[in-house]
């Protein structure tokens, strides 16, 4: 891979790594009395390893000019491998903490392994590790092909990919040491947040630079979504993480906002992390890989426009539905509920577009587990967005909030929609990326599909039941007008559902492991398939081979 870099690119890569190593050294120095020093050491070691890796191939012969006739796919390949590694780790930790709620002594007495520290390890690993790497990898892949342009250079994409994984690594190792801001899905501390800003801005500039080189007059739908994902996540991330560190040598910081303003900012962030990280980005993925795999164009160009702008505008109002009946002023709660209901229109326009695109290719859905992953993802997307709008209604929320129903809802979206569309897209593009005829084992994909579906359904039903049971028990009164159940009574009632949930999660984890194994074996398959003439950066015939959105 390093042999693909030109001499100047190798020099740049070494200089950037050296600068990061230096930054790590400064952190070791400033944070010598604090856990920040450990992170400084981690950063330094990672970048020094990088310098040695590049240095080892520094005198390799320069790459041939022929490379410019192909898309630059090495970062996408590494991104997909990293994504599959993160998903196995993230699902395993998730299932571990699920079993901790069945048997709390599965912490084995240590601090780092307690539920409170491992829970963000799980969420960060699956959302940012698995989801984020898959988004970066597929966005590079889709961006080049829908623009018919090669990435502008060969260093920036690596900086984005490795820089992003450094962020994920700092985040999860931090939680286990107790470094956290406590804001859900925005737990990493200030220096990790600043690092992500640098990576993220670079990512967006790379996107614009590639688009500027495009040979297609129009920007394909997938790229609108990827752009919204990058831009809005940057906005949310910067505002929600505004904080004052205790000192430049302390990992700990204090949020710039407090109380009610902090709560609103956090859930404006939290809900739109769902919207722009877990929805917009993956819709971008779906709009490319689903029509490619099904061999059919997207059903409606206009529906995709309506759903895109609807999602971008409406979602940003919906965060306050996380704060119904709290100390947040009621007018904000009402706005949040109203926009959450309106959100159903663009959401179902997207879900409808998925299913109507498949209309006429149902035989393929039946025979091809990869396409079935994408179809089921579309169905779960429709179900989850309906459920989300429903749960945003104040009276429903009074029952569902604070219970496992929320956890069930989130996992219907995360397992059913996000993970399924990602697995489908990965199974579609791994043979394309590595120039193989097909995945190593279609049977394993089939097994993975059924394990994933069964795991999701068991998980979601368990949490629906436990959430509704718990919500009802909390509000049940005796004839004498006192509360019928103590909190401890509800814990006893939860126990069987927690076992079921952990079993569902285990099935999903086994499926993920089969997926990782299948991807690995495909990469190791001997022989390459013939290059597809349409899969080259030159404008061969306008629109051929690409799901073209234009009228």
């Amino acid at each position: 891979m390093i042999a693909q870099l030109t001499l100047i690119e190798r020099q740049h890569a070494i200089m950037i790594s050296a600068a990061i190593a230096l930054l790590g050294g400064l952190m070791i120095l400033a944070g010598r009395d604090d856990l920040m020093g450990v992170h400084g050491a981690l950063i330094s070691v990672a970048s020094i390893i990088m310098i040695f890796r590049i240095g080892g191939s520094y005198y390799a012969p320069p790459p041939s000019e022929d490379r410019l006739r192909h898309y630059y796919d090495d970062p996408s390949k590494v991104g997909i491998v990293l994504s599959m590694m993160w998903v196995v780790v993230g699902l395993a930790v998730g299932d571990w903490v699920a079993w901790q709620l069945v048997n709390p002594d599965l912490t084995f007495g240590a601090g780092w392994s307690s539920f409170g520290r491992l829970r963000p390890v799980h969420t960060t690993s699956v959302i940012f590790g698995f989801g984020g790497n898959a988004l970066i990898a597929t966005s590079f892949y889709v961006l080049q092909r829908t623009s018919r342009a090669r990435l502008p250079d060969q260093v920036t994409p690596w900086f984005v990919l490795f820089g992003y994984n450094l962020f994920c690594l700092l985040a999860v190792t931090g939680y286990m040491m107790g470094i956290t801001q406590s804001k859900e899905y925005a737990e990493p501390e200030w220096y990790t947040d600043l690092w992500l800003v640098v990576v993220w801005v670079t990512y967006f500039i790379l996107y614009l630079r590639t688009l500027a080189r495009r040979k297609e007059p129009h920007i394909y739908v997938s790229n609108w979504y990827y752009m919204a994902f990058i831009l809005v996540v940057a906005m949310l991330h910067i505002v929600n993480n505004l904080a004052v560190p205790v000192s430049l040598g302390h990992a700990k910081s204090y949020s710039a906002f407090s109380g009610v303003q902090d709560a609103m900012t956090q859930w404006w962030y939290g809900h739109n992390a769902v919207a722009f990280f877990l929805t917009a980005g993956f819709l971008g993925m779906m709009y490319y890989f689903l029509p490619m795999r099904a061999g059919r164009p997207i059903y409606s160009y206009r529906m995709s426009i309506i759903s895109f702008w609807g999602i971008t505008f409406f979602y940003m109002w919906a965060g306050s539905h996380h704060l119904h009946f709290t100390a947040l002023p009621q007018w904000v709660q009402t706005l949040g509920m109203t926009f959450s209901l309106m959100l159903l229109i663009p959401s179902w326009a997207s879900a409808g577009n998925v299913l109507l695109t498949l209309n006429g290719a149902w035989d393929k859905v039946r025979d091809d587990a990869t396409l079935r992953f994408m179809m089921v993802a579309g169905v779960f997307y429709g179900l989850t967005t309906f459920e989300g709008s429903f749960m945003a209604i104040r009276s429903v929320n009074s029952l569902s909030h604070y219970t496992d129903w929320t956890i069930g809802h989130v996992h219907a979206g995360a397992l059913g929609w996000v993970a399924m569309i990602t697995f489908g897209s990965i199974y579609a593009c791994v043979p394309w990326l590595w120039k193989r005829e097909r995945m190593y084992s279609p049977k394993l994909i089939e097994a993975h599909f059924w394990l994933a579906l069964a795991g999701t359904v068991i998980y979601v039903f368990a949490m629906w039941n436990s959430g509704i049971v718990q919500g009802l028990m909390w509000r049940t009164y005796n004839e004498s007008g006192t509360l019928a159940y103590s909190f401890v009574d509800t814990l006893v009632a939860m126990h069987p559902y927690y076992i079921a949930r952990a079993v569902g999660g285990l099935l999903f984890l086994i499926g993920g492991c089969l997926g990782a194994y299948n991807v690995w074996k495909t990469i190791k398959l001997p022989g390459t398939a013939a290059e597809h003439a349409g899969d080259l950066p030159q404008p061969v015939v306008l629109g051929a081979g690409i799901p073209q959105a234009a009228e």
Partner: protein, 247 residues
């Protein structure tokens, strides 16, 4: 039709799309968040509300470090059963000094907004040491090491200073005495104990929270924090009493 015609042209311009996305995505936040900083009624007035002592703040940071917020909320909603179960519903002012807020989103365990002084220090120590010793069906992890880990106090002044930067009115005097105040609050016989009362008010509780007066442990800090929850101000209890008196 012209709308789609406009879009047909827009989608051939990367900068146009970028600006469009930023504009569409900015409006919701500006309408919902900005007024919360300007409309005075958003946060009630609570004259006499006290600040977290350095020990309680350190305890709060342990609460954050261990991820307690993942399973415990600190926000009692305006619903009858919640008021009956946990006490008066939470007011915005009660988390005015909470950077960040810890309202939470999930109750795997009960709400803690008014847990303060509901149980004894000994109960909390026993419960944190091994929850199943006092609540047999509890699924909470055990935090035994808190009792043996010394609390770090040498940088508490920096913590208070950072808190002041984000708007909590700690005085120079409080900052200068942060470490000794933390020690004295858990050792009421210490000569520095009077200073704690002087700086943080008569309502401050000075006790050997972990049962070991001479040692300042993380358990001291966490229990001190749990015991002050719901007691920084009596605004929430007062308003209901006033409403009832008026009827």
């Amino acid at each position: 039709m012209s709308l789609f015609g406009f879009h047909y042209r827009l989608e051939s311009k990367a900068i146009g799309l970028t600006l469009g996305i930023i504009a569409a995505a900015s409006i919701g936040g500006m309408v919902e968040i900005a007024p919360l900083f300007t409309i005075h009624q958003t946060v009630e007035d609570a004259p006499g509300m006290r600040l977290y002592t350095p020990l309680e703040l350190a305890g709060r940071n342990i609460y954050i470090r261990e991820g307690c917020y993942a399973c415990h909320s600190q926000m009692i909603r305006t619903l009858r059963d919640e008021v009956d179960r946990y006490g008066p519903y939470s007011l915005a002012v009660e988390s005015k000094y909470d950077h960040p807020m810890l309202w939470g989103s999930k109750r795997t365990g009960p709400d803690l907004a008014r847990i303060g002084e509901k149980y004894s220090d000994q109960w909390h120590v026993a419960h944190l040491n091994n929850p199943r010793d006092v609540v047999p069906v509890s699924v909470m992890p055990a935090y035994g090491w808190l009792l043996t880990t010394e609390l770090r106090t040498d940088d508490l002044d920096l913590h208070l200073r950072a808190q002041r930067k984000v708007g909590v009115p700690y005085t120079d005097n409080m900052i200068a005495n942060a470490a000794s105040d933390a020690y004295a609050q858990s050792n009421p016989d210490a000569p520095q104990a009077d200073g704690v009362i002087k700086r943080y008010g008569k309502a401050t509780t000075l006790r050997a929270f972990d049962g070991q007066p001479t040692r300042l442990t993380e358990m001291d800090a966490l229990v001190a924090y749990l015991q002050v929850l719901g007691h920084l101000t009596d605004a929430a209890r007062k308003s209901i009493a006033e409403v009832e008196a008026g009827q």
